[in-house]
Symmetry: C2
Subunit: 209 residues, 2 copies
């Protein structure tokens, strides 16, 4: 099975070869894997910033506990969730759906109201948590896409969200950095590359009922 | 690219053919895809219940807004996050790592303390949110694994967490249902099967910096 082979191949890369860059054609595929990710109601309530700029990477590094992946990796993917859900988010989706399915927005009004009511019932804090969770599905797909293309990646939560939001001016856009991934090619000196994968046993992880 | 083809093939299945069951060999692969999922620090702070019992499915259905996927799908995967992180969770991981790498736990003490301090600094509410987020990576991998095996799936958040925790007696195990996925085979009558996928454009979703 391709997926299993790819998941076994990947590892959280600690040291990247900064001379190697992910090419445009592969970047396009990585973006498409993220774009195709499932999300609650299909709303995709996040934006993904892809950092190529060395200058921005240098600014992000101290906000990432000085982890060297930030400056040595080819690209940093920053998954940013919307911090609140407004009617416009739902209306945008309904318009997209209406166009794709070639039906009037009037016919989608019931579904639109259902979403608005369901999401409106959540506190702003709960909305924020909910949109952040969705980014983890997309981030997981990025890891899988990288592995299929034999691109290395390191998913990271070890960064200062407030500092990231500040550096990237996310607050004013109602966005917040949720999780990031450094993407590029492993350095020959990455000692962790050949370490065995540590995973709970199937018996520990699952229960059939 | 296999992943992109598989992601395009899949859709959130609304109607399953209840006569078709996922076989043991495929189930094993689905479990392995979940097991291989990335997680923060590699801790995998969740458990996955796989519901085969028709009786339990019947109990879960009213707690899932009567959605028919619950009783018609072959298996329901319930991703349950740990609601608090205790030292034992970290110690278990350290023991696993020590055995896998054939090094003494003493040599991993620094890393163990680092994890304990980082996670200990989070409030219980934040710990719960954090462990729940990790389940979304695993759930995403389940969707991808299903697609590769041409098994249908429906990821679902539309269920009553408290009722699930009650029915499955999760509270006493410090677990909580985070997200679920119905897995099986689409019914020929599922009208949504051939609907075009609705996704934001690449330009809307990404920003290169």
């Amino acid at each position: 099975m391709n997926l299993l082979e790819n998941l076994k191949w990947r590892y959280a890369t600690k040291k990247f070869d900064s001379s190697k860059k992910v090419n445009e054609s592969d970047l396009k595929k990585l973006k498409e894997a993220i774009q195709l990710s499932a999300s609650s109601f299909g709303l995709q309530l996040y934006k993904v910033l892809i950092i190529e700029s060395d200058q921005i990477k240098e600014k992000l590094k101290p906000a990432s506990w000085e982890q060297t992946q930030i400056t040595e990796a080819s690209h940093i993917f920053i998954f940013c969730n919307y911090t609140k859900v407004i009617d416009k988010n739902i209306d945008d989706y309904i318009n997209l759906k209406s166009k794709s399915l070639n039906i009037g927005t009037k016919d989608l009004e019931g579904y639109s109201d259902f979403m608005k009511n369901s999401i409106g019932a959540l506190s702003e804090d709960m909305q924020k948590v909910w949109t952040a969770k969705q980014t983890y599905i997309a981030m997981g797909n990025l890891l899988t896409a990288c592995a299929e293309l034999k691109i290395d990646a390191c998913p990271m939560e070890g960064f200062d969200i407030e500092k990231y939001n500040d550096i990237l001016a996310l607050d004013s856009k109602d966005l917040s950095a949720a999780v990031i991934t450094a993407v590029g090619y492993r350095s020959g000196e990455d000692a962790t590359a050949n370490a065995p994968k540590i995973r709970k046993s199937i018996d520990d992880l699952f229960e059939i009922i």
